[in-house]
């Protein structure tokens, strides 16, 4: 059997879920024995490889995120929403309480420390979309791992079940919680 492939992706989030992945500590080397961790954050989507498992942290907040998550869905057998921002929108979606224009204006035009203002806008940087969304509003999601962030133990459990072709049991006793 060929080695499985994993990708981990970061959209609009804080990287805390990826820190929790790293908090698997030495067990990362165990995961690396079961699967190749191929990398991801993509720009035009052309190079995202076919993977068995994609772990996606963060909500969908920009045009690039929209393209990325659709592309990832097409090229992943199993897509996992990793952490509260991916699962519910969480802190990233607090932006939905205001308009994106107001959010940008506050940071780039009105901030007390600004001596002059201009809103970032160029082809090299992503454009915000009007409403921040959790992943399942855009694509089909196979598993949800809530938590801000989910614990390393929980992530390791889910990964090792999937990599051994078992269905993870996320019902009970696994310290599943939001926040």
């Amino acid at each position: 059997m060929s080695k499985k492939k994993i990708a981990t992706v970061w959209l609009a989030g804080c990287s805390g879920c990826h820190m929790s992945l790293l908090d698997m500590d030495e067990r990362i080397l165990d995961v690396a024995k079961l699967a190749d961790i191929v990398k991801s954050p993509i720009v035009d989507g052309k190079n995202f490889p076919e993977v068995d498992v994609a772990l996606v942290e963060g909500a969908v907040a920009s045009d690039e995120h929209l393209r990325e998550i659709k592309h990832i869905r097409e090229h992943s057998k199993i897509l996992i929403s990793l952490g509260d921002c991916a699962v519910t929108g969480n802190v990233a979606s607090l932006r939905n309480l205001v308009t994106k224009e107001a959010a940008l204006a506050r940071a780039y035009l009105e901030a007390e420390s600004n001596e002059q203002g201009v809103i970032p806008d160029s082809p090299e940087i992503q454009k915000l979309i009007d409403r921040v969304m959790p992943l399942h509003e855009v694509v089909k999601v196979d598993y949800y791992i809530p938590g801000c962030p989910p614990s390393a133990d929980l992530i390791f459990y889910v990964l090792s079940e999937i990599l051994n072709d078992r269905v993870p049991n996320l019902d009970q006793g696994k310290k599943i919680k939001y926040g």
Binding site: A12, C17, I28, I37, N47, R95, R106, A107, P120, I125
Partner: protein
């Protein structure tokens, strides 16, 4: 498309625009914490003319926190960054404490300091062992698919295991004080939420010798690399800027409290014991079109002469001495590099980071041995007493400011955040340019050379994204375009 680097003074702009006719895009940058792209612009002779580091992320905390109670901020703002959440919590709690005019009890400070040290240890360990040691141990031109912590585990299993455990030590401090490794609760306005149990204190104390030993192994790796590549290390993105960092009352190295010191490129102190509450008097920022990161500068020197750096290198450059013995010994060697002047070479960030790791572990030991560390007197309570609060602390990557304005009910009406990586933004761009000039020539770009351009950014350990960049490879796409945006050549690596 018109492109020019912001640090080039206005009068030179026209000249630069005419020469640019090719553009290289490196995206995404691997093995840094971030969503970022680099563009290199070549002139008609194929020489690198300009470089830009595009930061591609914006979530809008400054706006969407308006209307919330200020006391929520120490639990919302850590979500800005999962690598330095503790620094956000501390700067935020301090801003709240100014609004409340409350004094944190000494044991509360001790516990906060301890979690803060843990975060810096784990962040620095990640930066050195997971992200940067592959370049030093495996080489710049090593197979990109294996130039990561997994590759290190294959070739140097002991180093990989130790690095992982050093990061774990930092994370465990948080776990054992608060029950959580990332986004720990407990750092609250007025102090700290949980007392420390004796059993946990003992476990952490027992870990200290191993942590010190691993850091010394890190220093050996760095020094061995330095001995073999002294010239490259020294010339790597070496340019003068100002440096900013917290210091104690006698100019000693400080991470949690204290006032700020700014030194200029020659090491002269230009701002001494600056109070963070007055940050608007000496720091201003300029947003740019092409990045979500702004360009901060030291106000008295103006733009762009006032560009300054923050983080480990800057903190060691502003400090007069370290507060712990082993770190002080290394600090003397560090200072000798500058020969009385600041150390400007960007590669020395790695050295500075290791010296800071040493001092953090030694300080953690001191705190764990403090007779008051098990006290229950860890939080003071008060209501709001004024409308404005400013809090400041050092994040692993540099000085961090939180500034809140509330109405008379404590509801936030204005939030301003000055983040560490933002303050290194001008220097990161400059570093990429310097290195690209040295290593990239023409549109046929060698893989090793591109890695060096990325490495210039990695020196600053920018906190923009995730660190599983550490455990895999990512396809890297470089587009070389002409001035009309037509692709002349596409180079891919990895994947």
């Amino acid at each position: 498309m018109t492109v020019f680097p912001i640090w080039i003074k206005e009068k030179k702009l026209n000249m630069v625009e005419q020469k640019i006719n090719q553009k290289i895009t490196i995206s995404p940058v691997t093995r840094i914490e971030g969503h970022a792209k680099i563009t290199l612009q070549l002139n008609d002779r194929g020489e690198v003319q300009a470089a830009r580091f595009h930061v591609n992320e914006f979530r809008g905390f400054e706006k969407f926190c308006e209307g919330r109670l200020y006391t929520e901020m120490p639990s919302i703002t850590p979500r800005i960054c999962g690598i330095c959440p503790v620094s956000h919590a501390i700067s935020s709690a301090k801003a709240c404490e100014m609004i409340m005019r409350v004094q944190v009890p000494y044991p509360g400070h001790l516990l906060r300091r301890l979690v803060h040290l843990g975060q810096i240890i784990s962040s620095h360990a990640l930066s050195f062992f997971h992200l940067s040691s592959p370049d030093m141990l495996l080489g710049w031109d090593y197979d990109p698919a294996k130039r990561n912590i997994i590759g290190i585990a294959e070739k140097f299993p002991d180093v990989a295991k130790r690095g992982i455990r050093l990061r774990k030590f930092g994370q465990e401090i948080s776990e054992r004080l608060t029950g959580k490794k990332v986004h720990a609760m407990g750092i609250v306005a007025g102090g700290f939420g949980y007392p420390l149990a004796e059993e946990q204190r003992q476990t952490l104390l027992n870990w200290i010798p191993e942590a010190l030993e691993t850091t010394k192994i890190g220093l050996d790796i760095y020094k061995k690399y330095y001995d073999q590549h002294a010239q490259e290390v020294d010339s790597f993105a070496n340019f003068e800027t100002l440096h900013l960092g917290l210091i104690g009352p006698n100019g000693e190295h400080e991470l949690y409290d204290g006032n700020l010191r700014m030194v200029d490129g020659s090491g002269t102190i230009v701002g001494e014991q600056l109070k963070s509450e007055n940050y608007l008097d000496f720091i201003a920022e300029r947003p740019v079109k092409w990045s979500y990161l702004k360009y901060p500068y030291y106000k008295p020197f103006g733009f762009p002469d006032g560009f300054y750096r923050v983080g480990p290198l800057a903190r060691l450059n502003v400090a007069s001495k370290m507060r712990t013995p082993s770190a002080q010994e290394e600090f003397k060697n560090f200072k000798a590099l500058g020969n009385g002047r600041p150390v400007h070479g960007s590669f020395y960030f790695h050295y500075a980071r290791l010296i800071e790791t040493l001092t953090c572990i030694e300080l953690a030991k001191e705190i764990l041995n403090d007779p008051q560390i098990l006290s229950y007197e860890i939080q003071a309570f008060a209501q709001r007493n004024q409308t404005e609060g400013i809090g400041c602390s050092e994040a692993p990557r540099g000085t961090l400011f939180h500034h809140y304005t509330t109405d008379e009910n404590g509801v936030l009406i204005k939030v301003n955040l000055l983040i560490a990586t933002g303050q290194n933004n001008p220097a990161m761009n400059r570093s990429v340019l310097e290195v690209a000039k040295q290593y990239v020539n023409g549109k046929d770009v060698r893989e090793g050379a591109l890695n060096r351009v990325e490495a210039a950014i990695r020196c600053y350990d920018p906190c923009l994204s995730c660190s599983t960049h550490a455990v895999g490879t990512m396809p890297l796409i470089i587009e070389i375009q002409d001035c009309r945006g037509e692709v002349l050549n596409v180079i891919k690596r990895g994947g």
